[in-house]
Amino acid sequence: MLEFDQVHKTYATPQGPIRVLKDVTLRLAPGQSLALMGESGSGKSTLLHLAAGLDLPDQGTITLAGEGLAALAEPARAKLRREQLGLVFQQFHLVPSLTVIDNLRLQARLARRDDTAWTAHLLERLGLHGLEKRYPEQLSGGQQQRLAIGRALAPRPALLLADEPTGNLDETTASHVLELLLSLVHETQCALLVVTHSPQVAAPLDRCLRLSHGSLLDATP
């Protein structure tokens, strides 16, 4: 599903280059789930951005759904993202001018995979039933993140990338949202790569990796 092969990434800053990823190799099979852990600033988000084709590595190859990302032009990468990936961020990045239901269907529409029955089911499962006509700012933080998860899963992606999806939520809400995320992922049978700080999150997943000083270590308990 997703392959990193000897990937290097360096950021140029006024204070000199920062080597964020050094020789990272990683393999994620379809339907597999993986937790990525590591200290703040260790390069987890960078890795995720690279996986999503939002950025390109300096060295090494990344393959997503059988396609080498570096060889693809930007529109093709966008298409891949639209059709194969679901993305969830710490900040929810909902579109403030669209209603709940329109936000939920946004990516599915873009990917031309709008499935009314599936969206209705998602709405039910996310506990957002009855709130369709509201705007994102009229929801609580937990509701907003659930909506973001729903939006990512609406087109039934092959891979869900989540970057600290519960980082902005309080503990109880966080565990509810996470439970929901995992059960929906299970239901859709998509692969999952989730960045997290919490060992509880990592525990039920197939594998756990730790990023430290730019290198990946296996940390599966």
Partner: protein, 833 residues
Amino acid sequence: MTTVLTTLLSHYRRHPGQLVMLLLGLWVASALWSGIQAINATARDSYARADALFATELDQLERRDGATLSRDEYHALRQAGLPVSPLLEGNVVTQDGTRLTLIGIDPLTLPSENALGQAGTSSSLTAFLTPPWQTRVAPDALTALGLERGNAPGATPTLAEGGKLPPLTLSPALPPNTLIMDIAAAARLLASGEAITRLVAAPGALTTAPPDYTLTRATSLASPGQLTESFHLNLTALGLLALVVGLFIVQAALGLALEQRLGMLRTLRVLGVSGRTLVAALSLELLLLGVIGGLTGIASGVWLARWLLPDVAATLGSLYGADVGQTLSLPWQYWMGGLAVSLGGLLLAGSGVLWRAARLNVLSLGQMQAWRSGFRRQLTLMSIAGGLAAAIGLGLTLWLAQQPPGDGLLAGFGVVAALLLASALWLPPLMALTLKGLTHLARRRPLTQWALADMQLQLPRLSLAMMALLVALATNLGVGSMVGGFRVTFLDWLDQRLVAPLYINAPADQYDAIDTWLADRPEVSERLLTRRSETTLLAIDTPDESRSLSLAIDLYGITPGESLTPHWPLLNTLDDRPSAWAAFDNGAVFVNEQLATAENLSPGDRLTLRAPNGNETLTITAVYPDYGNPSGQVLMASHQLAARFEAPPSSMGLVLHENANVEALRNALTTRFGLSNDAISDQREIKRIATEIFERTFTITRALNVLTLAVASLALLASLLAQARSRRQQLAPLWALGVPRAQLARLNLAQLGGAALATGLLAIPLGIAITWGLVAVINVAAFGWRLPLHLFPGEMAVTLATAVGVALLAAALPALRFWRASPRALLAEETHQ
């Protein structure tokens, strides 16, 4: 694509204010621009039709002594073998009071290539020549006759005085407000007997004028199109200004709409919309807005033009003697052109936004900081561009200084435009610098410091509206002072020239008798006879050069009486005023400013003029102002004009002793000489009419001026209101920190009021500079006369107050909502930041 577009547009559903502002800017820009273009197109169409008629395509023959021609004289000339054709001109008044020009022609002798000579088939020629005759009329004169286009052909409308027009036929090529018929039918309607107004001939058909006649060549008659060019250029410049101000608004609104959608753009990119698709969707959005705004703008522009056209027509008629139709006549190019300008302008205003949207990195998209850091570079660019504009303006000014006065209309506009552009571009850097300095100074007063720092943060969003405001304020002040100054000058000038309380306008051959009779009336202290004629200026001798030319000019004779000479306005004289007048009495001439400017004449130069008995060479001893006259004029003493040029009398002013019974004298004159009612007019009436013409002349300038300022104020209001929400988010934390709401509201008012005041204060010197450009450069080039620079502090204060008022209003509305919002709502807004 549809999903992307609807998602982008959903922003406006939640921020309708921004949509309104965008459409408003587009609407205003294209309405004012297309309105002015509609006026220009209509005027051009009228000129083309007038050109196609007689005035500029036929040589004209008139009697040298100004007396009316008779049919016998025409026959005599025809018998002598001269290919002349008679023309009878007069006015008829329709039942709704409109005055129409009636021209009687003889189609058989009229040169055949003329628009009127083409009478068509022989049957229509017969219908034209024989009772009940035919009236040819352009469709736009039908309203005045109370007819619709459908029922017009064959109709015989009745005129105000009871006469009936011969059956109408429509002839769209004719000038507006003109009726053409056979000369016999015209003579009957006008009850003009045997009289003929003028004789015309094909260009070049006569080699010389017969004795006792003056021949005016077609080529020496300026066409109305040429004369009015500068007027239309003025209008176009105002239209362009409105367009620019409108586009400023559009650009501000687009920038704001994009800035607030950065998060959305990033989300869309992350969800798999390619950058290209995004730019295409944004362009589509622009196109959609452009078509809506452009079409509504053009529709309103046509409406605006319809509203202003009567005043424009009156202006062109009184300033240039050009007849312009009262109905809009718009070719298809006009509509396409209007839409193209709106879309082009929108693209120009939106190109920056598109460019920035295309270049933004997915990962840093939505980061306000990245967006803002561009502003510092933008300020540098603005300073450089402003410097460039200033350099161009300076260069043009230096170039203009080398040119003879009266040249460089376009360069004049260039200077004004460069000045406006430079000031507008320098405004944001200047404000940024000032704010930075003030922030530093206020470091001991935390709240003031916060207010100033906050202004710096607001500057990127505010600067475009401020620039638009500066341009609009300065133009408003500049044009306002110009019009006001003209008014003061013009009224003074009228007062100085109209010294006699009574003016007589009698048939030319009655003046001798009137003069003799008045000589014995005790209440009359002075009789100021004027004469008029026309001639050709053949040569100019200055100390540096002699050149020959052939220029049609007017001759005007006045009586340099005791009550006239001390007041008659003079711009410069050879020696002093008394010696200039003494020389004048002895045959020296004065020239009007228009002629002096056009031919670069000054006192001391000598003019050679064609005269009946050999040429006359006369010395110029003074130049006088002659506002509102489109043509060059040579002034000389009445008796000299009679002796040298056989000029007929044209009017007589009567200066009366104190306590003279004006009414009795008026009645006595009227009955003694059988004068018509309007033959004697008093000074007040003449002034009233002149002032009325003047007011109409500037109606359109004033209207456009006020509209531009209104638009700029709206722009400021809209862009301030558009960020009201984010303002509250800025204020809420301060309030949470314990600053009273009243104080926050006051701070807010002070911030925006101060910014508007600073802009307004900058606009004042800029406005004065623009006034100078208008009166000293553009006016001289356009009309041939220069105006003294007048400033009106009262008007300036009002304009300044408007600017500050708008800003305070814009600040007050959000402040009020802030004031009334519940604490919970405020904090909620803060957390949703």
